[in-house]
Amino acid sequence: MAANYTTQVLIIGGGVTGTALARDLVLRGACCLLVDKEDVNFGASGANHGLLHSGARYVYTDPKAAMECAAEADILRKIAPHCIEDCGGVFAAIEGDDEGYIADFPSLCSDVKIAANPLLPDEARELEPRLSEKVIAAFRVNDAAIDPFMLSLNMLQDACEAGCTYLANHEVTGFYCDNRINQVILRNNISGEQTILEAQLIVNATGAWSAGIAEMAGVDMDLIYSKGSLLISRVRIARHVINRLRPPSDGDIIVPGGTVSVLGTTSILAENLDHIRPTRLEADLIIEECGELIPSLSDERFIRAFSGVRPLAGASGDGESRNITRGFSLVDHMEQGIDNFITITGGKLTTCRLMAEKAADLACSKLGIKKACATHLVPLGKNRGNQWTEPGLSATQWIADPAEMGEILCECELVPKSNIEDIADLMRNQGQKPTIKSVALRSRIGKGPCQGGFCSLRVGAAMYDNDHLKDDEGIGNIRDFIENRWKGIRPIVRGVTASQVELQEAIHCGLFALDLYE
């Protein structure tokens, strides 16, 4: 079969790993095509805690990963300060927590050179007034919060500016291979169209989906899936990252994300990757567990829950998913008889640059490219169209210049019309077609308490006005977007949320009859 498209490197997966890899490779002069079956950060990269790990969390279970995190966090602070809020972190133990672990923690940290400064319980409460009265020990660490969307989107933009091509909604559905992958079948998930593609090298950066991709090439990968769910509170609960000082467990981290906090996680072995949704049980568990650190949590309002899947490499059969390493694995499938195929999976958001570096080193050695990695030195780009994921930014800019920024389309997060245009322009320049969902991914649309009930309609209208939508695409766009938000709201409906859901349904189904549209 003749190929419709050829490239030097095909990267499958547009999460933090894939986008970091694309950036790394183009900086070394490789020619890349990056594809994602949905869009940037559709997978774990868009469903995580946003914690830039100091490493302290892993000193006990995985000292190597701890050191990697510490080193990488420092690099990201230098090259990508605009994606990071350097808020610092606190580890706190409460009455009844494992005294042995508390006693060992400082030396475990110093063994791997991770700073952990002891705090008296009162000092800890002075830093974080909402901490429980039952705190018995606390430490200050170098944790920070990172915006994974801004990170991936800017890495992608850097890559695209240097010649990388990005295709969203393009899914790899099969390979033609003998001792190498000769051709790749790529399906456009919107039009259903198929493309045949040839590449010198194929890199599988599909996170939890990696085993499925490897299987298409006839290669086995031993992956275990651990689903984790998180909750977003309506307001920011703490200034610092707050960790429970105990061996990693459920509901023991609270990370600030601008004006909100993200609480989590759970860890449940998952079999099926396609129907991952947070459940009510998980939401309740997180509130209960995090409530031990912050007792006033029971009065808090939550606006959404979400889930991601961690692919954990290796040791199958062990039932305890938290005990398996969080380190990453880089596999050259030459060992299994496929010459031009690499998989990079596992790891962390914090270590995505390092993962990309290692994968790119391997790729370059296969391609005969000599140039060394530069991503630890070259500052990450900043693009107008990629800045609107930052909570509060559009609000401050709008207040400064309301006429220039245009009407507010989302009242919860104060997102003006011009944000949508910035994003749509950037997407068009990358050769992509903007949708309500893809604009929402790149902005604060739908992230406030109303969860998109009103703004989806306003954004849709604005997108028709600027020719981004045609025919009745808007209907599918709105439904898609609302269903996507709904996944996260359903598990947390209590009190006030029930009335928001009802109002939204009254508008979408009662008033506009979107439920009946065919």
């Binding site: 009510r280 209208a461 209907i475 009190g495 029930a498 009254a506």
Partner: protein, 439 residues
């Protein structure tokens, strides 16, 4: 605390949504003395169309052409549906009476209870509904005939794009074109607020300028669709004038809240009820309802610095569902906060909501609510009316899903009508109608 005030009347109505307004109207017209208290004015969110019934979500996808047939079908399948407590004549009569009352105050509705119509919305969808504001009426005929039409939007009006409408509806109405005007007197880049524009168009000078701007865009189109901004208190006049100035029929296109057609309903009901002698307290939350020994009710709320208690022969709770605060979610439980009335609800919390938001059959929680007898009196498990003189009307009642059935206003009006029959009967038997206006 400041002063205490005590009032007496036949009927207290809690709520000013479609059901509370209708209950107050029907009761006043029976000569009963009525006091209405409400916390907020939900009608301002109403899109203006009066939906009666067009779809039975549990029974399939059919959209009924005749709402009354639909109701007949719905009630045969679901005996507990609130509509099953009325006969079709009563439903027709109740809506007829509301339609007439609105028209007397200049708010005209078209259509009859035996036919559903399709109203073009700002999303480009066609919403099935029954009684249609006269200002929206010309759209349907033009749609049916594929008349060549012009859809005009207004710069700065959020969530309303003429292009979106034209693009979305073009498979059903192909002969449409989109265009945009600036609202007279509104600076470029300013937000266009529907209510302010509607009030501005009551001024003939502004209306004339508005008409001229639209007229300059018309080529040979035979009909014009515009956002719903044609006046608040004088929509009949503004609509007719505009039609005359443009020389072609004009129809309004309903959009998301806050909506002018809803504000019209709210203001017209206010006028009607004041004329009927109803005493109205807005922005007041009822904080206590006490059933007294002598079978009367005592309703309490604070009004500025005075505490008001009303002693009434009967009580109508028209407090809506979760948005109205007629029902509240309390942990694992759905509760009625005023009298802690028994609430029929799904056994398990997991049955409240479906996995997909747009699931055609609707969410279990929407069928939760108060279970009543045929006069809309809440019942206990036997099932006997808990109080002979307590009524719940509108969306608070169980076993209906007005959102999916498109039955919101119809259920509200019809249940209010039936409840007022019950009240009249109760007052007559007990001979305790005060028959005078409350203080």
């Amino acid at each position: 605390m400041g002063n205490q005030k005590e009032l007496k009347c036949d009927v207290v109505v809690i709520g000013s949504g479609m059901s509370g307004m209708s209950a107050a109207l029907f009761a006043a017209r029976e000569g009963l003395s009525v006091i209405q208290i409400s916390h907020h004015s939900p009608l301002v969110n109403h899109s203006g169309t009066i939906d009666i019934m067009s779809c039975a979500p549990l029974q399939g996808k059919k959209i009924w052409k005749n709402p009354l047939r639909g109701i007949g079908y719905l009630c045969r399948e679901n005996n507990d549906h609130p509509y099953a407590k009325l006969d079709l004549e009563e439903i027709k009569m109740s809506l007829g009476e509301v339609k007439k009352a609105l028209a007397q105050q200049g708010l005209d509705y078209r259509g009859s209870t035996s036919e559903n119509h399709r109203v073009l919305t700002s999303l480009g969808t066609l919403k099935p509904t029954c009684l249609v504001p006269a200002t929206m009426w010309a759209g349907e005929k033009a749609l049916a005939r594929n008349t060549s039409g012009l859809i005009v939007d207004i710069a700065g009006l959020r969530g309303f794009s003429a292009r979106e409408i034209v693009e979305t509806v073009k498979a059903k109405w192909s002969n449409l074109r989109a265009s945009r005007i600036e609202f007279p007197g509104l600076e470029a880049k300013r937000e266009a607020v529907p209510e302010l524009m509607a009030r501005a168009l009551e001024n003939p000078v502004t209306l004339k300028e508005f008409a001229e701007r639209i007229k300059s865009l018309i080529n040979d189109e035979g009909v014009v669709g515009i956002p719903a901004v044609l006046g608040v208190n004088h929509s009949r006049r503004v609509h007719n004038e505009l039609k005359r100035m443009l020389g072609v029929p004009v129809f309004e296109i309903p959009s998301m809240p806050a909506s002018v057609p809803g504000i019209r309903l709210n203001e017209v009901f206010d006028t009607i009820l004041r004329k009927e002698g109803v005493t109205r307290y807005g922005n007041r939350r009822v904080t206590s309802v006490v059933p007294l020994q002598n079978q009367r009710f005592q309703t309490g709320f604070t009004n500025d610095d005075e505490t008001v208690t009303i002693n009434s022969a009967s009580l109508v709770i028209a407090s809506g569902r979760f948005t109205g605060r007629g029902l509240i979610v309390n942990g694992e439980d759905i509760r009625e906060p005023l009298l802690n009335l028994p609430v029929q609800q799904p056994e398990l919390k997991t049955e409240w909501y479906r996995t997909l938001f747009f699931n055609r059959t609707g969410h279990g929680i929407n069928r939760a609510g108060i279970f009543t007898d045929r006069f809309f009196r809440p019942v206990d498990i036997y099932p006997q009316a808990i109080y002979p003189n307590l009524f719940t009307v509108g969306a608070i009642n169980a076993c209906q899903d007005w959102v999916r059935e498109k039955s919101g206003s119809g259920l509200a009006v019809a249940s209010a009508y039936k409840a007022v029959q019950g009240i009249t009967k109760y007052c007559r038997i007990n001979g305790n109608s005060t028959r005078r206006k409350p203080a």
